[in-house]
Symmetry: C2
Subunit: 335 residues, 2 copies
């Protein structure tokens, strides 16, 4: 068995030129080039007999695009711990990429330093892809501004602050609005002493949530993440409803409260401002909201495709979160 068949081989066998083979293959029937039925049939017969298939590489070489979308994650793509959290994003991305007929290139070659990757290193291969999706809790502003400056087509999954002058394309979740909504609901139920638990800064997603919280509860307490002592402080301040950035932390907090003999939501309402970044056991349904992760992935691919095909569209999208009317938020005791 010799090497791969080419159009030349087919041409030779059918006693026509390579051009004719190509024309027949692609069904080209322009004014300047037409192939009569009998010649066409002769070529098709040879193609059928040999099982010839055009080399996709040579084919794509002539076109501008590669049909490859890059996926750059600022943490590992398949980390065991946060796998469950990132999975829906990737799932949505895969789904849309499949519909577009694009392959996904995971930039695993980017060296990991201090647990995170950087797009820009000495051998960055970003340009292999037509454009890329950026994923991760936090993305350094320099990276974003450089990407914009170099006109590299990309879309961030998750809202990012614009570095000076540059517009960062993204498909994010509207954490601020969702947090404001659930906070307002708690106030309506009669809670007056409320607290926010989480970093509230650093990543945009954290800042947005805190912002939404303070919009509705300007004097609400803000504590950093969850150890036993957080519970102490909450109780010391007679907090009756707590809003936790990460569902996993929320679960830990609820657990700790119950371990101390408190009831949830009776003594303490616990609201989760998103999904779990690590596995959680127990089957409470936490009040709060879910991040539309799969949809974010899908829409990010859609936006990237729009950018790549030169369409003029809004580059920044916020999707609504899905509110969850769970079992961990109720009226405060005594009302």
């Amino acid at each position: 068995m010799s090497d791969r068949l080419t159009q030349r081989d087919i041409a030779r066998l059918a006693r026509v030129s390579q051009t004719t083979v190509s024309l027949v293959l692609n069904n080209r029937t322009t004014a300047s080039a037409r192939i009569p039925a009998d010649t066409r049939d002769r070529v098709l017969k040879v193609i059928r007999e040999t099982g010839y298939v055009a080399d996709p590489l040579a084919r794509r070489l002539l076109q501008q695009r590669n049909q490859i979308l890059g996926v750059f994650t600022y943490e590992s793509v398949f980390p065991s711990a946060s796998a469950d959290f990132y999975h829906p994003f990737l799932s949505g991305i895969e789904e849309s990429a499949e519909q577009l007929g694009c392959d996904l290139l995971l930039f695993t070659s980017a060296p990991v330093t201090d647990g995170r990757r950087l797009v820009f290193h000495d051998n960055n291969r970003l340009r292999i892809a037509d454009g890329s999706l950026l994923l991760g809790r936090r993305i350094p502003a320099e990276e974003l501004s450089r990407l914009v400056a170099e006109k590299y087509p990309f879309v961030s999954v998750g809202r990012r602050d614009n570095p000076d002058g540059a517009v960062v394309p993204y498909v994010g979740a509207d954490y601020a609005a969702a947090t404001a909504t659930v906070t307002a609901r708690a106030l309506q139920l009669g809670h007056t002493r409320v607290a926010f638990v989480g970093p509230g800064e650093g990543a945009e997603s954290s800042a947005d949530r805190l912002k939404g919280f303070h919009q509705v509860a300007p004097h609400g307490l803000h504590l950093s993440p969850a150890k036993g002592e957080v519970l102490e402080k909450l109780l010391g301040q007679q907090i009756t409803a707590v809003f936790v950035e990460d569902l996993a932390d929320a679960a830990a907090l609820a657990e700790a409260a119950r371990a101390r003999g408190l009831t949830v939501p009776g003594d303490l309402s616990v609201v989760a401002l998103g999904d779990a970044s690590r596995p959680v056991d127990g089957d409470d349904e936490y009040s709060g909201f879910h991040i539309p992760r799969k949809e974010m992935g899908r829409r990010a691919v859609g936006l990237l495709e729009a950018v790549l095909s030169g369409e003029e569209t809004d580059l920044q999208h916020l999707l609504a979160c899905e509110l969850v009317d769970g079992s961990t938020l109720s009226k405060p005791k005594g009302l």
Copy 2:
């Protein structure tokens, strides 16, 4: 609009020829063509500044390496249901690819038909990658033999039967040995009426397990997967130990048995021949074995790399499964 950069662009910017750019990029220092340090640096500087990367398609067209490994999954890469099952494979693949400095190309462009993908379709892009890893429960023999015939470098994750005459490179798990071992253990404990639950055919992984089972328990019962009526049959045949292909099915069976007032393992020992293909709740630790999934991923990448660099090695590897001495296998009642 910054069109994609080419070597010509780099050449123009660095005031050299395209050839020189190519030579610098590939570190060619043959007798006939050498580039002095200052010219080289000038070119490299431009490359760094522009972030130029060679077009992988054009590169592959000339039979070079790309530092891209393909990942072809015969089911969706990120399916919600079996995510947990496939995750460790991908995790291992990612880890090794990262060490090799390779990116991963997920062939999401392959159209899904009847829930599965096929490598060979009219626009297959396999050759963009240097070589590929194949993943999935079942891979059609035609696909494998065609891959071998076309001399495409690939490694299957999971043992595959060789199609006629062809040798399929793989890194698999030794299901037969592991199943034989746990079956033997059950017999040692005194079980005499044992059954195997699962397809036992179709995929190599199923066949191997059944084979291992029958090696040790030639007259053991074989039932197809788990509904309520499976339990009926088991009880009707006075089975005391059952070996289930899928941990998820094992869990369902144990659940059903308990619902009927039986104890596990008292009345019925339940052995899981592998990991769960879908989420399972309950926190039993099932006796049986685990599939060394992450290691399989790692080793598959290693084997592919060896193949790509032309090393002569064994193309077929079986890894031992990790035996689990869980809580669902004990002596049969009355012993």
